[in-house]
Symmetry: C2
Subunit: 363 residues, 2 copies
């Protein structure tokens, strides 16, 4: 029987100091035999997601599972990823069964280093695990003044258009682009209409899910709002065939192909929920345009979108990553809102491993 | 006043010989001062689209316009595209104002040549024109045993989520992946819910467009089926905010950023309908995996998707490009169905330029 710990997403929200949370998680994962540098990556990625309001991919939902995977032997705490075959700007990487959040981050650093020479570099990664928030890895390219792209192929949840059972994952696509005065453009979206967690929230609240989120047990799109019941069968982005769900289906297949098929990984129904393959791509802007000119042009582009007159009932037109950037600023200033179960999980882990952890509460 | 010729999409469908049509178009574009090799590319791309059933991007809809653009001076018939800045695997290309169908095809050939050395190569292209069917360019990579990616940023038609006026193009994404015994995987989709042409067809037929295709003059999504009236304001893929239209909006922005912003091209409302910027990427599979093994794995992947039990009322689950592959086989065997106005346009061009053209009708 699996001893993997469940998520810690319940309870009142407590405002927690971002640095203290990151430090605590680093110490906990070090106690689980993860090397210090890798443990810091786990902490960075999960705290960044929680701080940006992406709670599905943050500390409360994922830290207990990742700890459990290591203890269960489902993830290698000390992976040594290596290139199995490649050229100067493209490589196939064996993730050595490490936590995807560590493997993908390390590989993004590798491809950024290559791209500084070649202009663009991409890695396809097999033998890895769930990588948490895809945007975390795409955003690592920003530190290099590069555009970062991260996709990950995961276990089936999406029903193909005209099909009746899940055959593809939620397979997200993340793209991060540096700007100048504007916050970076950070896109991160599942290729399903919505992520599983949004359905869980609706189910728990007894609220109807909008049309186009799911298909029924026969594969028929649910076209009227209805309270969803598990097992959830997710619609590809588009929602229904008449609203082009084949596009979301095709995008998910591309993520499978570039991650799993190209890297010679397992795909489809043979994948376990903790397994994943990825692609990481870095594009060195300065190779094709002086970076300062690009930053200015990106500011102009983003402001062009943000200045779109809003539709009635809406205050503003947003760009990708803007909402999350605001959440991050608030988390840094006022503490990140963390469910009390997660605060308790950190404390319990501290006791179990005999660790001295900083006080979490934001003051 | 513009003398640009309108499309030739009206009239009965006539079965036309694919080779004769290609030969005729090559000759016509040569008469318009397009070099022979480039004229053959124009013919290849437009006939391939028409033959695959992608009539929006085929001979009838686009050949008269492209001819008109050349005669109007809106497109350079003899472009000499050149790299303005780049590294070994990434380049910024000036399209010299040529027809996009020529420029993008030539640049795909260039990046494939680079990728044979570097594993992956990408070009961002400015000063180009409408490139016709994006899949045509992605599919050129198949001849090199490579994965091809083509995106193109075009004039605004998409209304951003929560906005009230068009600020982004239909900005399609095309990806072509070779397989073994199965036909190649060929994805090609606008990042809007549907292309403009589907709305025109509904309007002409007086038929209601499904929910999620368009927004009204205020920017409010049209949530009930309604006969559309121009000017059409397209919804991003997803259709409505509650069905994640911000994802289609974000994908369209990525296409703008990688095509227009990265290449220092014009973007947004300053773009004319004939202008476009592109990205072309080639991924050399053999750099990371023996090509024969990849072909076998792709066959297995595609068959896994196609073997999904269909939902009631549907005969089969398709994969991207499958329907178009069948149309192509039928066109090759029985002739491509071409509107009589297009057949007449070819004949009239032949008379105008004093050309001897082959008989078009399939026998």
């Amino acid at each position: 029987m699996s001893r993997v710990e469940p998520s810690a997403t319940t309870g009142e929200l407590v405002r927690v100091d971002v640095d203290a949370l990151r430090s605590s998680l680093t110490t906990i994962f070090e106690a689980l035999d993860v090397p210090a540098g890798d443990a810091a990556i786990v902490a960075d990625g999960l705290v960044l997601a929680e701080s940006r309001g992406v709670t599905t991919h943050g500390v409360a939902n994922l830290a207990p599972r990742y700890a459990g995977w290591i203890e269960e032997g489902l993830a290698n705490p000390r992976p040594a990823h290596r290139v199995t075959r490649g050229a100067s700007a493209l490589m196939n990487v064996d993730g050595d069964g490490g936590l995807g959040i560590v493997v993908a981050a390390r590989v993004m650093d590798d491809v950024a280093e290559r791209a500084a020479d070649t202009g663009i570099a991409m890695a396809t990664v097999h033998n890895s695990r769930h990588l948490a928030m895809a945007a975390f890895h795409a955003m690592r390219a920003l530190d290099h003044d590069m555009i970062g792209v991260c996709t990950t192929a995961v276990a089936p949840a999406m029903v193909p258009t005209f099909g009746s059972e899940p055959r593809l994952g939620t397979n997200p696509i993340a793209v991060a682009v540096p700007a100048g005065e504007e916050p970076a453009f950070v896109f991160d979206a599942a290729t399903t209409t919505v992520a599983v967690n949004k359905l869980r929230l609706k189910q728990r609240a007894g609220e109807p899910a909008p049309a186009g989120w799911i298909v029924d047990a026969d594969g028929e799109p649910v076209r009227e709002p209805a309270v969803p019941e598990p097992p959830f069968r997710l619609s590809p982005l588009g929602g229904t065939p008449e609203a082009s769900s084949y596009k979301g289906y095709g995008l998910a297949a591309i993520v499978d192909i570039l991650g799993a098929v190209l890297s010679q990984a397992t795909f489809g129904q043979r994948l376990e929920t903790w397994q994943a393959s990825h692609t990481l791509t870095a594009i060195d802007i300065d190779a094709v345009q002086p970076i300062d000119e690009f930053r200015t042009a990106m500011d102009a582009y983003l402001r062009m979108l943000k200045s779109t007159p809003p539709a009635p009932g809406h205050e503003e037109v947003l760009v990708a990553g803007q909402r999350e950037h605001r959440a991050l600023q608030a988390s840094l200033a006022e503490g990140v809102p963390l469910p009390s179960a997660a605060v308790e999980w950190v404390a319990e882990r501290g006791r179990r491993h005999g660790l001295t952890l900083p006080r979490l509460e934001h003051t």
